[in-house]
Structure formats: structure tokens, C-alpha cells
């Protein structure tokens, strides 16, 4: 019993360590987008509202997972190094200074792929592996 518990804990720790390392996050644009690749700084600048210009031309239309979603928190930590509440404060500054409207929320990765595929100006993110041929992966965040 004791050793089983130990094994379970060991397995859990292994999972916690290995899962994020295996998974990561893919930043995606439509297959018809002019953007071909983005640096982490490009992604961070867009999602912290510092620029609205899409690399490759035009104005970016951002998509986000819902508030409190683990994938969203992981994305912001990986792309910007900021916590969910810090990002919320950043966007409240942008919104209430009339400078930008926040990203459009979609409820999961499948909806994200669908929304991004439909708009050449769209940018979104999904767990690695969730993208399909309708979108291009322009950045990978570990």
C-alpha cells in the first residue's frame, strides 16, 4: 500500500514534469494569412496590446480562450511571463484608455482553430497538436 502510494506520487510528479515539456502551445494564423512566422516577442507584443499590426501586414484580430482556462494561463505565462491577473490589468489599461478592444474569446481549441481558419487577419493559440491544415503554426511556445 505504502509503495503503491509512493509509485503513484512518483508517477504524478513525472507527469507534472513531462507533460508541459511534451505539449507546449502553438500560435496559429489562417492558412490564407500573409504572416509566415512570429517570434515570441511578436506574440507578446500583440497579446499585451503594444501593437495591433500583424507581421506580414494588416491589423491583427486576436482570439483568446476564456478567463480562468488553464490553456489561456499557460499561453500568457509562456508568451509574456505574466500571470492571469497581471494580463487582466494590462488589458483593463488598454480597454479603458480606448486604445484597443481585448481579444475575442472562444470556448476551446476546436473553436479557436475554426475561428482563426476563417479570417486571414486572425491570430490564436492552441495546445500543440490541436491545429489542422486550415491553419498555419507560426510560433511554438515551450
Amino acid at each position: 500500500m505504502k509503495s503503491m502510494l509512493k509509485n503513484t506520487i512518483a508517477a504524478l510528479i513525472l507527469m507534472m514534469v513531462s507533460v508541459p515539456a511534451l505539449a507546449g502551445i502553438d500560435v496559429i494564423v489562417s492558412a490564407h494569412s500573409n504572416a509566415s512566422s512570429m517570434s515570441k516577442d511578436d506574440v507578446s507584443a500583440l497579446y499585451l496590446g503594444r501593437t495591433q499590426n500583424l507581421p506580414g501586414g494588416g491589423k491583427a484580430k486576436l482570439y483568446d480562450l476564456p478567463d480562468g482556462n488553464a490553456g489561456r494561463d499557460a499561453f500568457y505565462t509562456a508568451a509574456t511571463g505574466k500571470s492571469a491577473s497581471q494580463v487582466k490589468a494590462v488589458w483593463s489599461r488598454l480597454v479603458f484608455s480606448g486604445r484597443a478592444v481585448p481579444p475575442t474569446e472562444v470556448h476551446d481549441d476546436a473553436a479557436m482553430v475554426k475561428a482563426v481558419a476563417a479570417d486571414p487577419q486572425a491570430v490564436g493559440y492552441v495546445a500543440s497538436g490541436a491545429a489542422n491544415g486550415s491553419v498555419k503554426v507560426v510560433a511554438h511556445l515551450p
Partner: protein
């Protein structure tokens, strides 16, 4: 809200409605956002009154909910990638001591290119680092922006236009803004008829540079400022009547050239937050004279809790050698009145506080200020006779939210 101020707002709205007729339906979107603060403040002194900005009522030993409490709403209309409109209203305590809504912004924005945008209507005056979101408690780390700096310019918005140019420079983003217009604001007045501040020929230029976790901005505005209030008009009449018209001329804000310069920076990384700002106000009128204020705030995040400390200062130059009335016989009241307006004033403040991010859109904050004003009361109002500049402690707590 005067008709005068409403007109550009209505123009902006009707302009946006006219443009919208041409916008493709699938491009149109709108978004409503709200923010608010429920706040309480109390001090340990009945000698002076603590207010936050252009307010009549405030806190002393009997606390007040009217300093920091407010409720705001904003509607953003996006007609197409080039054209959008924004309207924001905030309810807070005004210059007459009433808690009621006022129109903060109403503007149309047109993106000429990806880098250049033009706004027309009633716009926020970007005098400070946090001007655009001064009243959005959630967006700020402190409980309230330090009054030593944020009380220097009693103006939040103007009617006119501005142009923004944003460009990537190095690995950061540079935004240059120029603005022009005019402004009007009610200020509290002891006579209970609120005073009026008017700025004509307002022009300004501001630069912001954001790189990584660092944001720096600075700039200058200039305008011709007029200030009318029954209390001062009485004093001026007395001065003119007794042959001291030159003193009135030096004191009165009557289309007086006034410059306001400010520079500030914020570094907000994972755990460390440092921000500081300096502002300087110079006017040809000795009533405003030459003042400056500054603050430095440092904070450190422990998970969802961020304690912070602020040190702030304010100084107004002594102009009593420039304008004075002899302290003799019937002139004594005039002499005292003038002296009170041109004396040196100053204040220092050490504040300790903490922000706790309770939920993804709710923050709790508590702050204790140890304020050391001059005998003239610094940023406090209603200074009672016999006050000798004793330190005042201010205890405040707020709940900030956005929705």
C-alpha cells in the same frame, strides 16, 4: 455638464453614425466594459480635509465613502478596421459634492494607416502616466494615484483632436501624440458655488516608448488658463478698489499662459514593480505660480498579493515678494488673503499599501498614508485656523472591479 461640452460629443456620435452607414455589416462589432471601486477613507485629523481630485467633500476623523468610490462604463463601437467610436461615462463625487455620472469621453477614431490614427471629440488629456485610466482602480497598483503629482493639473479631458503615430523602434514601440483643443472643468469652491476652470488654445505633445516590461512617457502641454470663483473675485475687487490692481493682475488667472510638463516610467516585470513620475506646472499667474510634484513607488508580488511603498513630494514656490499688500489697518484682510495664495506650500507623503488580486477581475487594496504637509495644508483642503502642519495619517481600503 454644460451644453458647451456636450456639443463636440454629439458631433462625434453623429459623425460615427454617418460613417457607420457605409460600414459593411460583418465588420461591425460593439463591446461594453465597466469598472468600479467601492472605497472608504478616514484620517486622524479634523484640522484638514482629505479629498481626491476636484471634490468638495472628503474624509477627516469621520470617514467617507465619497473619495474613491466610483462606477464607470464604456461602449466601444468598431465599424470597420479603420473606424471606431468610444463613449465613457463615470459616476463619482464631483466639485459640488454630489455623486453623479459625467461624460468622460466621446470620440471617433480613424486609422489613416496602420501606424497613424486620428481622434476627434471629447478626449482624455494625457498629462500623466496613468491619465487614461486614473479612475480605473483595477488597472492601477496603488489605491489611488499620488495626489502630490495628480492634483497639479485639475483637468481630465478636453474637446478637440489628437493624432497618434506608433512605430516599432529597436525592439520596442514608440508612440508620438500631438493634441489640440480646449477644456473646461468645475472645481470645488468654499462659497459652495463651484468654480470654473477654462483652458483655451490647449496644445500638447507626448512621447511613449514601450520596450519589454518598461514603459516610459513624457511630454508637455500648454494653454491659456482662466479661473473664475466668487471667493477670488471678491478679493480681486478689494485689491482693485484699494489701488492694488497690479497685484490682481499678477495673481488672477485670466487667459494666463500655463505650461505643464511631465515625465514618468513604469517597470513591471514578473514580481517587481517600480514606477515614478515627475510633473512641473508653471503659469504666468501667481495663483498657480510654479509647482512641481514627484513620486516613486516600489512593489513586490508574492503570488496574488503585492505590498508596495510610495514616497511622494509636492512643492509650490514662494511668490510673496512678487505680490503683497502691506499689513496695515483696513488692508489686513486683503494682505492675509494675498499672502495665503502666494506663500510657499509643500508636502511629503510616505504610503504603505498592498494589492490583493482576489479574483480574475476583483482586487482588494489597503493603504496607510503618513502625510506631512506645510502649515498651508499641501494637497488637503478646508485647512482650519490654528493648523500648524502636523502630520496626518490617512487610512484607506477599496474593492476594485472590472466587468
Amino acid at each position: 455638464m454644460s451644453k458647451f461640452a456636450l456639443r463636440p460629443a454629439l458631433l462625434a456620435l453623429s459623425l460615427s453614425a454617418a460613417f457607420s452607414a457605409h460600414a459593411a455589416d460583418n465588420d461591425f462589432s460593439y463591446r461594453f466594459s465597466g469598472f468600479g471601486t467601492l472605497g472608504y477613507a478616514q484620517t486622524d485629523s479634523n484640522d484638514v480635509l482629505m479629498t481626491n481630485g476636484s471634490q468638495l467633500k472628503g474624509a477627516d476623523k469621520s470617514g467617507s465613502f465619497l473619495l474613491d468610490s466610483r462606477l464607470g462604463g464604456q461602449l466601444d463601437l468598431t465599424f470597420n478596421p479603420r473606424l471606431s467610436a468610444t463613449v465613457q461615462a463615470i459616476a463619482l463625487q464631483d466639485a459640488k459634492g454630489k455623486f453623479r455620472p459625467r461624460l468622460e469621453w466621446a470620440f471617433v477614431r480613424y486609422n489613416l494607416t496602420n501606424d497613424v490614427s486620428v481622434r476627434v471629440g471629447q478626449l482624455g488629456w494625457p498629462a500623466y502616466l496613468v491619465s487614461d485610466f486614473r479612475y480605473v482602480g483595477y488597472a492601477n497598483n496603488w489605491l489611488r494615484p499620488p495626489l502630490e503629482v495628480y492634483n497639479l493639473a485639475a483637468l481630465d479631458n478636453f474637446q478637440g483632436a489628437d493624432v497618434d503615430w506608433t512605430h516599432s523602434v529597436g525592439s520596442g514601440y514608440l508612440t508620438l501624440k500631438v493634441l489640440g483643443g480646449h477644456a473646461e472643468n468645475d472645481l470645488p469652491d468654499s462659497s459652495n458655488h463651484s468654480a470654473k476652470l477654462r483652458v483655451n488654445s490647449l496644445m500638447g505633445a507626448y512621447a511613449t516608448y514601450e520596450i519589454g516590461n518598461l514603459r516610459m512617457r513624457g511630454g508637455i502641454s500648454t494653454g491659456k488658463v482662466s479661473y473664475t470663483t466668487q471667493t477670488l473675485d471678491g478679493l480681486y475687487a478689494g485689491l482693485d478698489f484699494t489701488g492694488f490692481g497690479d497685484v490682481t493682475h499678477k495673481l488672477a488667472l485670466r487667459n494666463s499662459r500655463t505650461n505643464f510638463a511631465s515625465i514618468g516610467a513604469t517597470y513591471d516585470a514578473n514580481n517587481v514593480m517600480i514606477t515614478g513620475e515627475y510633473a512641473d506646472r508653471r503659469s504666468s499667474s501667481l495663483l498657480l505660480g510654479h509647482s512641481h510634484g514627484w513620486y516613486v513607488t516600489g512593489g513586490y508580488r508574492f503570488g496574488n498579493v503585492m505590498p508596495y511603498v510610495t514616497y511622494a513630494g509636492y512643492y509650490k514656490r514662494n511668490d510673496s515678494n512678487e505680490a503683497s499688500v502691506p499689513m496695515v489697518g483696513p488692508l489686513v484682510p486683503l494682505s492675509v488673503g494675498v499672502q495665503g495664495l502666494v506663500q510657499q506650500d509643500s508636502q511629503h507623503d510616505v504610503a504603505l499599501g498592498a494589492r490583493w488580486d482576489l479574483h480574475s477581475n476583483i482586487a482588494l487594496k489597503a493603504q496607510v498614508d503618513h502625510v506631512m504637509p506645510s502649515v498651508y495644508g499641501g494637497t488637503f483642503t478646508n485647512v482650519q485656523p490654528g493648523y500648524h502642519g502636523q502630520a496626518v495619517n490617512v487610512y484607506s481600503a477599496v474593492v476594485d472591479f472590472v466587468f
